[in-house]
């Protein structure tokens, strides 16, 4: 038990769309499929509601990984929201890489309301990958510097 006290616990923020992925997370729960407690879910109506600023904010505040989950392409409750999310994140992830955040700390995944097992699998996998990378360096906010 001693060893576990100092074990690195990553902080992971998961943005889940209300219609597919949040429901998928609920299904993972009602199917009792576990994934690390390090993952904390924020409910948004659609993956396209995820403003890149939210992700930057998370990294500023010490998140070790951020994952955005939406409906599968073609299945978006709002028809096209997940396509916007995908394109925005592609651009953002390149920027993050430029800022020195490992590409593996961010991810976009499609999880439907029927895919409880996939949700758990994705979260286990992602949490494992982030854990392996170790603690992230907080992004600085220049406006806060003297």
């Amino acid at each position: 038990m001693q060893g576990e006290v100092n074990e690195f616990k990553p902080l992971i923020v998961a943005f889940c769309c209300n219609w597919c992925s949040y429901a998928g997370a609920d299904l993972a729960g009602s199917s009792r499929l576990s994934y690390p407690a390090d993952v904390k879910i924020i409910r948004v109506p659609c993956s396209c509601r995820v403003n890149p600023l939210f992700i930057l904010r998370a990294f500023q505040r010490g998140a070790d990984g951020v994952i955005i989950c939406g409906c599968h392409p073609g299945d978006c409750h709002y028809t096209t929201g997940n396509y916007y999310a995908r394109r925005r994140m592609t651009v953002l992830f390149r920027l993050l890489e430029f800022m020195g955040i490992d590409r593996q700390r961010v991810r976009v995944e499609w999880v439907s309301a029927a895919e409880g097992a996939k949700f758990a699998l994705v979260m286990n996998e992602f949490a494992g990958a982030v854990k392996a990378l170790g603690e992230n360096v907080k992004l600085g906010d220049l406006r806060c510097k003297p």
């Binding site: 902080l11 209300n18 429901a23 576990s34 109506p45 659609c46 998140a63 439907s112």
Partner: protein, 665 residues
């Protein structure tokens, strides 16, 4: 100054076993803004709700956080309770500490800190909440049913009976669907047409039902209560108002090589055709791909023989647009393609047929006039082998078939076997089965009757291969109970092919923004408690498009879907979702980015006068039509100036959640 109350639910032991609920409540007491925190066994119970109401009043709470099950379960319950206490319902936030915490973590050491983190995030969010008022939108008092099989017909009849207008859109020239193709129905063996055609006639005669046959849905816009649907009425090249259904044209048409869809392609039909005798509407349709006149300009015989003058070679597709309050998907099923099951020789031998083809062979109006003969040579068969589970219950990695049980095959195979033995006692009938699944009223008794009274031989095992040899079909399979491998020289083999959703359902689901499962069946809003509703408001499900089902189940579900439609149409106005976008006109720079990404066309621009820091100015500004906006938030991210925000999921609310979650660091 906000005053927040936090309520931690035990959910019996569902939460309390792996989350220390008292510790969560305790931790919340020291959160900024929290003036009250408590835990209780069942917050969703009446007593639990009363406690919430009492606390709101006693402590003059301005916002409430419930730490309980998923908001998808009880958000509405708690919003209503808050309203009863005089609080704006949108001042309630839920921390999901059951599905996303207690149920997935094994003990309190892990569960409690996570529950606290989730509760903190909810508190942080509710502090930034603002009261919201839902708007209202009118309900179009008309329903659309897509699919004219027994599911669609029954739903339409029930909706019409309740006094509402309903349209049935059917892609083929007649309503009736799969049930019209069936000979007899289990477990009573009554004739399918005899019980279906009265319903078809009733649908045609009902003043509240309009049949749009040979038509397809092309576009769906709008939302619950206010759908605008574009429907293409395909050209029949026949004036349906003039055609009397005399079928003179059908008899004289020289192009007779069209595959007869009604008989599963077992025989041919003419280019101008009426699908079957009891078709509704009973009018002819020209298959343009087969018609000599339409292809080459020569012929024109049907026009000459038609005494009603109904033939119109110049007819064009007609596109209409209608408004509906509710939409029902009833698109049905088809048997799967058997191309990946070559071991059963379906492609090689005409004497290997699917069960639906066999149904047509048994039917008096079928290609053999109901005579049981081999399709290859018209001879009477002496030995028939039925193979169950062809393409059903396959593993995902098998690369063929479906993972689910098709549900109806055990029963229809017992029916077929029984019908054969009843009419032709000289025919030996064997059924290869893996399991016989007959959970239905009088179903198992039916199957036992096939075995015990009709002498159908049930063989526990599976056929490995079928091939033609010396004019017979050699069927090699295992008889597991007798521990032997059988080699049966059979005359016919009938395959219980798995069923799958009609292929057009996928495109329709996309138009309806209704979700589907991995097998392309429509998903229900809740597998147990909302089985006939799609997760998309105003879209309902009827029949096999939601999953394999037999006729009694389909009819029951069709009726259930109808009452949901009636419940919706009986309202004059619907409360709209207040979580919609809005633009801060002082920040808007008129760039139109939001307008471009809006999937609903809810954003418009106009020149308006604003007063910015005391200065009057006329600017080009975005405004959101709240009745049309669905609240996805695409515009909020597209907006470069930060003018666009989403009520209920505002930037500052989500930022506050992020901050709260990250506070652990």
């Amino acid at each position: 100054m906000q005053k927040i109350g936090v309520f931690v639910c035990w959910c019996g032991t569902n939460i309390a076993a792996t989350v220390d609920v008292a510790a969560v409540a305790d931790a919340m007491r020291s959160e900024p803004g929290v003036v009250y925190a408590a835990d209780y066994q069942y917050m969703c119970s009446e007593v639990g709700q009363q406690r919430l109401i009492a606390a709101v009043r006693e402590h003059a709470l301005t916002g409430v956080v419930i730490c309980a099950c998923s908001p998808r379960m009880h958000e509405q319950t708690f919003r209503r309770a808050a309203e009863r206490a005089g609080l704006n319902p949108y001042m309630v936030e839920i921390a999901n500490i059951r599905e996303q915490c207690s149920w997935i973590h094994k003990d309190k050491a892990v569960g409690t800190p996570k529950a606290i983190a989730l509760a903190r995030a909810a508190v942080a969010k509710v502090l930034k909440n603002a009261p919201l008022t839902a708007g209202e939108s009118p309900v179009a008092k008309r329903a659309l049913v897509i699919g004219g099989g027994i599911a669609g017909i029954q739903t339409a009849l029930d909706v019409a009976e309740a006094g509402y207008e309903v349209d049935i859109v059917e892609k083929s020239p007649t309503i009736g669907g799969r049930m019209a193709q069936l000979d007899k129905t289990f477990p009573t063996l009554d004739c399918s047409a005899c019980i279906l055609t009265p319903k078809m006639v009733e649908a045609a005669q009902s003043p509240n039902i309009e049949l749009l046959t040979y038509s397809e849905v092309e576009k769906v816009a709008g939302f619950v209560g206010n759908f605008t649907v574009t429907i293409r009425k395909k050209a029949r090249y026949v004036d349906t108002n003039r055609c009397t259904g005399c079928a003179e044209c059908v008899a004289k048409c020289p192009a007779r090589k069209g595959k007869n869809e009604f008989n599963m392609g077992l025989d041919n039909r003419s280019a101008i055709y009426i699908p079957f005798a009891q078709a509704i509407p009973n009018v002819a349709t020209i298959d343009a791909s087969q018609c000599i006149k339409l292809r080459t300009g020569k012929c024109g015989i049907c026009e000459k023989v038609c005494s009603a003058g109904a033939i119109d070679y110049n007819q064009r597709d007609e596109v209409i647009e209608r408004r509906y309050g509710a939409i029902v998907a009833a698109t049905g099923f088809r048997p799967i393609s058997l191309e990946k099951f070559g071991e059963y020789a379906y492609q090689e031998s005409p004497d290997v047929v699917t069960s639906l083809e066999f149904e047509r062979i048994l039917n008096a109006a079928g290609p053999t006039k109901g005579q049981l003969v081999r399709p290859s040579d018209g001879k009477h068969p002496h030995e028939i082998v039925f193979i169950q589970c062809v393409g059903s219950r396959c593993s995902e990695d098998a690369g063929k078939g479906k993972t689910y049980c098709s549900k109806i095959c055990c029963m229809y195979t017992a029916k077929h076997a029984m019908l054969v033995r009843e009419k032709y006692p000289d025919v030996r009938v064997r059924v290869f089965y893996i399991d016989v699944r007959t959970p239905g009223k009088n179903f198992d008794e039916f199957y036992r009757r096939a075995a015990e009274q009709y002498g159908v031989e049930y063989v526990k095992g599976m056929v490995g291969k079928v091939w033609r040899q010396n004019g017979k079909l050699m069927v090699q399979g295992s008889d597991l109970l007798n521990d032997e491998q059988l080699l049966i020289p059979a005359d016919m083999v009938v395959l219980a092919a798995a069923i799958e959703p009609e292929p057009g359902a996928r495109a329709l689901a996309t138009m309806l923004t209704a979700s589907m499962d991995t097998n392309d069946f429509f998903s229900e809003a809740h597998p147990k408690l909302r089985p006939v509703e799609s997760p998309t408001a105003g879209v309902f499900l009827s029949g096999a498009c939601q999953g394999p089902k037999d006729i009694p189940e389909t009819v029951a579900q069709a009726g259930a879907a109808a009452i949901k439609v009636v419940g919706l149409l009986s309202k004059d106005r619907l409360v709209t979702n207040p979580c919609v976008a809005h633009s801060n006109e002082l920040l808007c720079n008129g760039c139109s980015q939001c307008e471009k990404v809006c999937p609903y066309g809810a954003i418009t621009y106009s020149e308006r006068e604003v007063v910015d820091r005391g200065v009057k100015d006329v600017r080009r500004l975005a405004s959101v039509n709240e009745a049309v906006c669905r609240g996805c938030g695409a515009c909020t991210v597209a907006c470069p100036s930060g003018a666009m925000d989403l009520k209920g999921f505002a930037n500052r609310q989500i930022m506050a959640e992020v901050d709260a979650i990250c506070r652990a660091k």
